[in-house]
């Protein structure tokens, strides 16, 4: 017998599923990114208790264009994770996924019922990210 477990690649791809499946894997990746950043963030912002000198020097190191870009990526991650997480919290308490009832072919599922809301949230993510991008890159200091 072969075990045939899909393994970690099964998180990302297990067949041709709809967008919520990819929302799920993105939620994982962004979550991991954010928690790693959080630990770094605690270390870096901890410099503020040593006074202005220490703060300015650490800020100078952090203000590297590549790091700045990573910060922007992280900003996208947080916005996505927050709004998709909002959808998940609602779903986990049974809001917006419909009620069980008599199924008639063609079947509708909780995933379909939530699709509109999902697209709305993704649109919101796009708008907030665009506003953020303006703040990150376009506007002068």
């Amino acid at each position: 017998m072969i075990k045939n477990l899909l393994g970690i690649k099964g998180w990302a791809f297990a067949g041709k599923f709809s967008l919520q499946r990819y929302a799920y894997i993105l939620q994982r990746i962004t979550g991991l990114g954010i928690i790693l950043y959080l630990l770094m963030h605690l270390y870096v912002t901890g410099f503020k208790i040593k006074g202005q000198e220490a703060w300015n020097s650490i800020m100078q190191t952090v203000h590297h264009p590549i790091l700045h870009f990573f910060e922007f990526l992280l900003f996208i991650c947080v916005i996505y994770h927050a709004l998709n997480g909002f959808r998940l919290i609602l779903a986990e308490f049974g809001i917006g996924i419909g009620k069980p009832g008599r199924q008639v072919y063609p079947y509708t599922t909780s995933v379909d019922r939530q699709k509109g809301f999902f697209f709305f949230l993704m649109f919101l993510v796009l708008i907030i990210v665009l506003v953020g991008a303006a703040d990150f890159y376009l506007l002068p200091k």
Binding site: G31, I35, K48, W55, F75, G85, V131, F136, K141
Partner: protein
């Protein structure tokens, strides 16, 4: 503790973070659009450090973010076909990392608030 309680706390902290992290994000990243002044300049960092409301927000943010994040990491690792012993090792490591982060972060926030900096 029962998994349902830990998970409920995870969801609750997520809901709280939605608000607190929202405030944090607006202050830090929409500062130019809302004309709040450079949020990373020492002057504004100092003013936030000395304001009580910000200190409270930061403490809550730290507590909930560390819990929410580390519970998420734990549940992710739990899904990797670990043995029962492996799972308790992971839980232990997660608790230690969480405590270190909370103590270090809490110290930085409170010491920053107390310190007479200028």
């Amino acid at each position: 503790m029962k998994e349902s309680k830990l998970w409920s706390l995870h969801i609750f902290s997520g809901a709280i973070l939605l608000i607190l992290l929202g405030i944090h994000m607006v202050i830090m990243h929409f500062d130019k659009i809302l004309n709040l002044g450079d949020s990373l300049a020492w002057k504004s960092v100092l003013s936030r450090m000395q304001s009580t409301s910000h200190t409270v927000i930061y403490l809550l943010l730290l507590l909930f973010a560390v819990y929410h994040g580390l519970y998420g990491v734990r549940s992710l690792i739990f899904e990797l076909n670990l043995s029962k012993k492996g799972r308790s090792v992971v839980s232990f490591i997660v608790v230690v990392v969480g405590l270190v982060a909370l103590i270090y972060g809490g110290y930085a926030i409170i010491a920053g608030h107390m310190a007479k900096l200028s």
